[in-house]
Symmetry: C2
Subunit: 355 residues, 2 copies
């Protein structure tokens, strides 16, 4: 039972803000809102390992919807992991409990490793994600819109080449600086895989998409444009959008805000290192902005969180085109009451900016 | 035998560039140049633990001078650790082999912990660093200038409050957001300790000083100014400089470049995430600039390193006021030949920018 993305949810504040249409108040959701800070998430996670959660539509759907019910956010993001795409391209993905996040034991090392990668058919190799999207749309009953996401080609490449998270990014920096042609071949192939994946998510019912470029900020500005932003742009060009808004989040890339705003996305998500008022001055007539409270502020008591929320709202100023979010994912040791305080503060304090 | 900082070294390119005076070519040194990428450093390190190296003037001096002899840099930076200052303030500092960097097993948790901290007399509690400075000045025989350094108050506070490196900075963010008065009391006290320490280093013979704000970038722009830059400014005001130039390195703080340039430093050190040409346009008439090649470029072959060097030199453009450096510390697995290639490329390619 496919559901057209054009069906309007009861609460469509998020979608209207993406299009910079008038809203009654600023919509709010949080990156990683379906995550470890919620005891209800940890209860599901206690039963199965991380990848099983990603691969079981019922579980992925259950944890995706938890923050809608428990925290009151204005958008739902499908629970998954960015590394399912490289896995579908043919890379072995493992998670060893207690040994950090997922990793690739056989990282990309040579041109032949790159050439061996497949561009997967999402309907086959990533069907479980699409099933989770369909199920979640159904279970949401149009209460709030559903966001699908993917890692940026550059960010996926860093994991595929390093094998795991890295501090020095040695292997991937060696690749771009010493063998740029191979780097471009890899990034071009990943772009095709990501765009097919995002197109399929939209077809399955995602009402917005977000591209996460977690590691774009590890590159100097020129290399960021050459190896990261270029492939985000290419990916977005290839996605069959059907009017679905696209959000792009390039973490620690404030140096290239204007170029990011020109990549084809409708919304630019800002980390906490940028003044959202200045960002609006620079690019607010081209794109909506998402963000950007310091995730660390959720360690403070609720009244302080409210003051932080008001500051972000004041910096953005009056009018639409703002989706409230954190500057990065919610941290796993934040109290759920503090997440609720954030959402409530946005919902109460933002009305006066939309008169 | 104290040596006046005013004695001119044979190679004073670095000092002239700090003052934006004419130079024949761009001077170059590398953050963490006295470090693990050098087999000669590892040979010393194999004999004693890290803190013993810091505390033994002969060893600290030996490894400080290694890159002058082996790599050909235009400045020497004294080998030490930023955490010796909190230790001198009364905090227990431990390093367990194979368990990451130094850490404080009893971190700052309460106002009484802050009140208990002492502002040390560097001539007593940090005498071993001053002895290392004096010895290194002597051993250098005025070949190149000697730089003394300290952590910024904010960066030291993060370690003192977290106890070690952190990903979420939970404790210190809770401190600034929930108990800002306590945060300011701590930062004010650290500032006094750091400025006394830097004054003593200058008296002992340091010919330039650098303040490292490694974690300023973990703060949103307003909090960066309130909790980090403000105390760098205060520290510099309190240092007895006697004409010795001061460099400030606020990593990942490009959002506040203009404010950083106004903190009282003579030189602003840039990470690789800023276009040094744009930075010069913005603040080059107020300060000299240091930086900013991506440290990851040293993984590439020498001819590619040369191209990277030329790009940074071209971006800065003609004239003085540039000290070539990496955007962050040299990585421990870089080949010494690649470090030499960097230095050689700067020394050869930069002459044409100073005609």
């Amino acid at each position: 039972m496919p559901i057209a993305p054009s069906v309007t949810p009861h609460n469509d504040l998020f979608l209207r803000a993406c299009r910079r249409e008038p809203v009654e108040r600023t919509p709010v959701w949080m990156m990683r809102q379906a995550g470890r800070y919620l005891p209800e998430y940890r209860a599901v996670r206690a039963k199965v390992d991380f990848l099983t959660m990603c691969r079981t539509p019922e579980l992925a759907s259950e944890v995706s919807i938890q923050p809608v019910d428990l925290i009151g956010v204005d958008a739902c993001i499908i629970f998954s992991d960015i590394l399912v795409v490289p896995e579908a391209m043919g890379m072995k993905l493992v998670v060893e409990e207690g040994k950090g996040g997922p990793r690739f034991p056989d990282p990309i090392r040579s041109r032949s490793d790159i050439d061996r990668l497949a561009v997967p058919d999402p309907q086959k190799e990533l069907r479980y994600v699409l099933d989770a999207v369909r199920l979640t749309r159904r279970e949401l009953r149009e209460r709030v819109p559903l966001i699908g996401f993917a890692g940026s080609p550059w960010t996926l490449a860093t994991y595929m080449v390093e094998g795991a998270g890295s501090k020095s990014f040695r292997a991937v920096k060696e690749l771009i600086y010493a063998r740029p042609k191979d780097a471009h071949a890899l990034l071009e192939k990943i772009s095709r895989a990501v765009s097919a994946y995002l197109s399929a998510k939209i077809e399955a019912g995602a009402q917005a998409i977000q591209i996460f470029d977690t590691w774009g900020g590890m590159l100097p500005p020129e290399e960021f444009k050459e190896f990261s932003l270029r492939y985000i742009t290419l990916t977005l060009q290839q996605v069959r959008r059907n009017g679905v808004p696209a959000i792009v989040f390039c973490k620690d890339c404030g140096h290239s805000l204007e170029e990011i705003a020109g990549c084809g996305a409708d919304v630019v998500s800002l980390d906490a290192g940028i003044d959202i008022g200045k960002a609006r001055e620079m690019v607010g007539s081209f794109v909506a902005l998402q963000g950007n409270l310091d995730p660390g502020m959720l360690y403070a008591p609720p009244e302080r969180i409210r003051a932080g929320v008001v500051r972000v709202l004041e910096k953005f100023g009056n009018g639409s085109g703002h989706i409230f979010n954190l500057g990065h994912g919610i941290l796993p040791d934040v109290l759920p009451d503090h997440a609720r305080a954030l959402v409530q503060a946005v919902q109460e304090e933002s009305r006066r900016f939309h008169r």
